[in-house]
Subunit: 315 residues, 2 copies
């Protein structure tokens, strides 16, 4: 697992990515993951241009190892974020939520490795044609924004591996070494892990949101607001309001008005568990503690290696 | 993989179950799978009492190896089916869609091994308390009837393994050796495979339904009719009617009237791809051929072993 196309491409030791997540993954978390040997990723989707610059500078000061920035391509200030990544010599960019055709060539011309997040093999092929270095296949169980086809990791990862020649990173439902080993069995060469790192010491999630993540039960999340952009979140009172709006026949405009602005910040960063939007994956049902990022990276990796060794011994 | 609690419990050689599926899994398919070393399962949910008796007798004539009957517990003639399984000395029963408390003790007193299908760890615990020998954890990606919480196999299998002491069989999204190896990495001791066996030579699915399964693309299935009993099916013209009914605000009664009786038979057994209900899993997107049941069992098993060996060599 240690020496494959992803670890060689990125110059990392352990093929575990910490997903770039709005409001949760700033420089503290990203640098801790990179220092532990994985790939830390700054979530630029919730950062103003100046804030992203500050987080990149602090990450560069806190680690000598590779790190990445996640750029949701529909972000309003995306052009400024792209310029920042190039000017500040960010080594790796993960793009998502938009077409990889627009910026990939420019980023690669600047010497940046580019990976794109997809939820289908059709989009994986488009990303490959756009010239990205790897694709991240994200299944239905993942938290936050997600695809419309609802394909789960168990089915999506092999589909994407069959569709492209590029290395594939599995995302969605991966919170421990069992799931990491499973992702590799499906054909992935790395895993991207979100929810598990939300509930880490270095995450910038509000302590009340971390508690809500630990408290989430099976069936406690759902994919909703498909008319706007499908998002997996905890079924809290704000979600009940969404349900009530649907029951009253709300159209897209009404849903957009209900969502308003700043709901995710309110929930995830400010800890308003009632009115905030609490984005998290299904795997939250498996989480029981808030360890350090380094503990997460090392225990997940060693558990995965151990699983594979045990399976091999038994078969 | 070969000698674990499931293979020891059931006396089978290869820990691959062919799911008991309405209209697709009669004696030809079940006996072929059992003869290949896996566990063939008769789908009694679509059989009248006399038909089940005939299929059990033919299976017993066609194989000396263990086989099972799947009994959906909400089936109207369930009492007669239970008596048949006991009287005809069926060695293994898989129960689903109902409470395992009612019949488990009676079946076990008759010397029958009992496994129960669940879609959550809460139901897995209830099944364990009811005295079943193993649980089958079925994820959101599976075809046919399914749970309401939408937990995918990647998340559900570890959750159920953590919840119960019993051996766990993984179901949902498993169509090849990659997914089988992944299921074992997650903690399963066997896999239950549906869609892959629908598109097999010995399946009693109508040839047009088998073609529709091969033609199903990513995003081509969906879980619907949640107000009645959630079911994953192909998005065909009948599904478009369901969508239209929802858009018109159909209530449970209207949905039940639309579904009517015999839709699944019409689609899956009689090959009416327009008006029939076509139940299949997401993994149909990965299927490209209609092999024999023995080929499926052996290629899946050997691919899984190969995957594990390769992963171990690389790690």
């Amino acid at each position: 697992m240690k020496s494959n196309r992803i670890t060689a491409l990125l110059g990392i030791e352990i093929p575990i990515f910490q997903a770039g997540m709005i409001w949760c993954s700033g420089w503290r978390l990203a640098s801790a993951v990179s220092n532990a040997g994985g790939l830390g990723i700054l979530g630029a989707g919730s950062m103003y241009p100046d804030v992203l610059k500050e987080h990149i500078a602090k990450t560069q000061a806190a680690t000598q190892k590779p790190f990445a920035v996640n750029l949701p391509l529909l972000y309003p200030n995306i052009e400024e974020h792209i310029q920042t990544c190039i000017a500040m010599k960010v080594p790796i960019v993960v793009t998502s939520a938009g077409s990889p055709r627009i910026y990939t060539a420019r980023l690669k011309a600047a010497g940046i490795k580019v990976m794109h997040v997809v939820a289908s093999s059709a989009f994986a092929l488009k990303a490959q044609e756009a010239g990205v270095d790897a694709v991240i296949a994200e299944g239905y169980e993942a938290g936050g924004h997600n695809g419309r086809e609802e394909t789960t990791s168990m089915v999506l990862v092999p589909l994407v591996c069959d569709a492209v020649d590029l290395p594939v990173v599995a995302a969605g439902g991966i919170g421990d070494g069992r799931a990491m080993a499973a992702a590799f069995a499906l054909g992935a060469e790395a895993v991207q892990v979100g929810s598990r790192f939300v509930a880490s010491l270095e995450s910038s999630a509000h302590p009340r949101f971390k508690e809500a993540v630990l408290g989430a039960q099976e069936g406690g999340t759902t994919l909703t607001l498909k008319e706007l952009a499908p998002v997996r979140l905890i079924k809290n009172p704000f979600y009940d309001k969404i349900q009530k709006a649907y029951a009253q026949g709300a159209d897209t405009e009404a849903l957009r008005a209900l969502l308003g602005r700043g709901r995710a910040k309110r929930g995830m960063f400010e800890g308003d568990l009632t009115e905030g939007e609490l984005e998290i994956g299904q795997v939250s049902a498996l989480l029981r503690s808030v360890p350090s990022a380094a503990e997460i990276v090392h225990s997940m990796y060693h558990e995965a290696l151990q699983r594979i060794k045990e399976l091999n011994a038994k078969s």
